[in-house]
């Protein structure tokens, strides 16, 4: 039974990945991210009013404090609603006194409300968090390269990490295109995706490594070997991504507002991670391997002359 040749079509997968990556990269370069107050510093007020209020009403109150440029979001299941009870206000970093005054004024003008959540993050804290996030990502990549190089070989490590970079860029690209808010939990989501994607890749690499041991005796073709390894682990790859997607989808659909962006990042990232393990990491390994082989052959020819 001839299985579908994945590795042989690797140029196609590279092109597909690049086509998916480009819009995200353009969006990151042009419109950037919708960074939450965790990163920018600022004040957030999540209020639930006794009656539905409109954005204009809230903005009018904020105008008195020169805060009319703040982000005011209605939290409603109905996307087209012009008024809602639950309102999310994001302003620049307000002192605690100003926030108290604003909250009191909102109460005077718009009636009773319940404070669901207030947050205030100083600008210094925010930039520290952004720096931490970048460090966390870089450190985890380096550690993974070290570990995989030790357990496998460097070509496996670099292929695996390139697949991780691929997944990460897609997820942050999607967040940039959709202008979804990026907060502290987003870092956790990215690192989880990295953890999942590397896990998935290693399972396939492990099979390649195992088959390589037999390969030396048989002298078979590397492309065929990689293909066989991918297909031998295919059922597992699909089943595992499905169970993880089930739980993530449960979190996305039923987990409430606070974890919605977090689980959305995971839904995209885990799908990418499963894809990249099969269609990016293993083909890349073959590409690197061939490149090294060609170079060796070329050098041999040179010395032969």
């Amino acid at each position: 039974m001839k299985k579908f040749d994945i590795i042989g079509r690797r140029k196609w997968w590279y092109i597909i990945s690049i086509l998916i990556l480009i819009p995200g990269i353009i969006s990151i370069a042009t419109q950037g991210f919708n960074l939450g107050i965790d990163f920018t510093g600022g004040t957030l007020m999540d209020l639930k009013f006794a009656r539905p209020v409109t954005v204009i009403e809230v903005r009018d109150v904020l105008k008195e404090y020169q805060l009319d440029h703040s982000t005011i979001q209605l939290a409603s299941n109905d996307e087209s609603a012009t008024a809602a009870e639950n309102v999310l206000i994001r302003t620049a970093d307000l002192s605690d006194e100003t926030r108290r005054a604003v909250l009191a004024e909102i109460g005077n003008k718009l009636g009773n409300y319940d404070v669901l959540r207030t947050e205030r993050v100083g600008a210094v804290m925010g930039s520290e968090l952004a720096l931490q996030a970048i460090w966390a990502m870089l450190i985890s990549w380096v550690l993974i390269i070290v570990y995989v190089s030790w357990r496998f070989e460097f070509k496996f490590a670099i292929s695996a990490v390139l697949a991780l970079v691929h997944d990460t860029v897609i997820v942050i690209g999607v967040f940039s295109i959709l202008q979804k808010e990026i907060d502290a939990t987003f870092i956790a989501a990215i690192l989880t995706i990295i953890g999942y994607s590397i896990n998935d890749t290693i399972v396939i690499f492990d099979r390649i490594r195992e088959n390589l041991k037999l390969h030396h005796r048989k002298g078979g073709d590397l492309v065929e070997l990689a293909n066989t390894s991918i297909w031998q682990t295919m059922t597992r790859s699909i089943y595992t991504v499905l169970t993880v997607l089930f739980t993530t989808a449960a979190l996305y659909f039923f987990g409430g507002e606070s974890t919605k962006n977090f689980s959305f990042a995971l839904l995209i990232g885990i799908t990418c991670g499963a894809y990249s393990s099969i269609f990016t990491a293993s083909p890349l390994w073959i590409t690197f391997r061939n490149y090294a082989d060609n170079k060796r052959v070329a050098e041999k020819l040179k010395t032969a002359k």
Binding site: K48, R117, Q132, S140, T185, T192, T240, F253, S258
Partner: protein, 410 residues
């Protein structure tokens, strides 16, 4: 022997299902909950340099002590005061009724000064012994001050020298009251009037009792979650948990039949062990932490999927059920160790670099991976061996190994 094994297996299965159904909820609720679940306020304070009072180690230690006093005066259950780094102090106030007021109290320098007619400071808050909020006969809210012995003398001296003139009591350079002195006060007591409400008087009394901060302290971060949102988050994550684990259980049954059933039992044991571990570590369960647990359920079955797929391959090659299962476990072992270790690497990075809620997520994720390894290799393996050796189900298909089998030889 066979019957004995099967009986053992049945007892274990019934016990785990029973414990899971009865104890999962009380166990989960007995774990300490983060502020995002129970509602409360998280405050980060930072000591900052001023020309008059540069920050040093001693000053920060004193600030921590004073903040502790102030927090204790708020009368909350289980507040947390934690030093972070050189200059920061994290304060967690679970279930605080009026978060805005609490934040105000924490960051106030609360330097009390008594000035004479010429504006020279004669006494400070250090001359106080006690301060209490009171309502007097004319329904006025006031703070009754009691001076130390030395303070009493100073105050007597101050009032004696300023009869007929005004003295001023200031808090953080703002005048609280500037009464006209009618006669010298020698009793070592005084009152501060002018509080609009009894609560305001109480807050002032708390500040005066706990003393003034030796350096300027800025509130650099506050996060408050109201009780409504906390409860809502809790309910919703419980539901998401139920749906998630339900979907995985059904999936495993459909694709791996009896092996899947055993894996599901192991999964229940896994969830219970994770919760017990969190409780024993005295960890705080946060919303991202719960997300970590729900997510790890999907990942926990991965070890089982790897083992079962390997078992199917070995079985198709013509091995007996038992030999195929053994080979499945031993062959999958290396794969699982390598793949899980890399995930542990990222969880560790997250733990050391993350703060607050992100840390909570890293703990449950990392813990989940380790426990899922244990349950797969100790638990699933043991149960499956019992099942196979009880010799009741002999067809590989019952264990999920469908497909072409070259020759039956059980």
């Amino acid at each position: 022997m066979r019957k004995k094994n099967f009986a053992k297996l049945a007892v274990i299965i019934v016990a785990i299902i029973g414990v899971f159904c009865y104890y999962i909820s009380p166990l989960a609720h007995s774990i300490k909950q983060g502020l995002d679940l129970q509602g409360g306020t998280h405050v980060v304070l930072e000591a900052v340099d001023t020309p008059e009072a540069p920050v040093n180690e001693d000053a920060v230690q004193r600030v921590v002590k004073i903040i502790e006093k102030r927090v204790n005066e708020l009368g909350l259950t289980e507040p947390i005061i934690q030093r972070q780094g050189e200059r920061r102090i994290i304060v967690e106030l679970p279930g605080v009724k009026d978060p805005e007021k609490a934040i105000e109290i924490l960051g106030k320098t609360a330097m009390l000064e008594f000035q004479d007619d010429s504006g020279a400071t004669v006494m400070t808050g250090q001359d106080l012994k006690d301060a209490k909020a009171q309502i007097d006969q004319s329904n006025q809210n006031l703070v009754a001050l009691e001076f130390s012995d030395e303070g009493g003398k100073k105050f007597a001296d101050l009032t004696a020298k300023n009869v007929g003139k005004n003295i001023a009591i200031l808090l953080d350079k703002q005048i609280l009251t500037n009464p006209n002195v009618k006669e010298a006060i020698t009793g070592g007591k005084a009152v501060i009037t002018g509080s609009r409400t009894i609560e305001e008087a109480q807050r002032l009394a708390i500040l005066l009792r706990s003393g003034s901060l030796p350096v300027k302290v800025d509130v650099i971060e506050t996060r408050t979650v109201g009780p409504t949102l906390g409860q809502d988050s809790k309910d919703k994550s419980e539901f998401a948990f139920a749906v998630g684990i339900g979907a995985v259980i059904i999936f495993m049954l459909v694709f791996y039949h009896l092996s899947g059933f055993i894996a599901n039992i192991a999964l229940m044991a896994y969830v219970l062990m994770t919760l017990v571990a969190l409780k024993m570590l005295d960890a705080t369960l946060t919303l991202p932490g719960i997300a970590g647990i729900i997510l790890s359920i999907g990942m926990a079955v991965d070890a089982n999927v790897l083992i079962f797929e390997r078992f199917k391959e070995e079985y198709r090659l013509g091995k007996t059920l038992r030999a195929a299962m053994d080979a499945g476990f031993s062959r999958a072992f290396a794969t699982i160790i390598d793949s899980h270790l890399t995930t542990i690497i990222t969880a560790t990075v997250l733990f050391f670099l993350g703060t607050g809620t992100v840390k909570g997520f890293a703990i449950t994720l990392g813990l989940g991976i380790v426990i899922s390894l244990i349950t797969a290799f100790a638990f699933t393996q043991y149960l499956l061996k019992l099942l196979i050796s009880s010799n009741i189900f002999k067809d590989g298909r019952v264990y999920g190994a469908s497909g072409v089998k070259t020759n039956e030889k059980i």
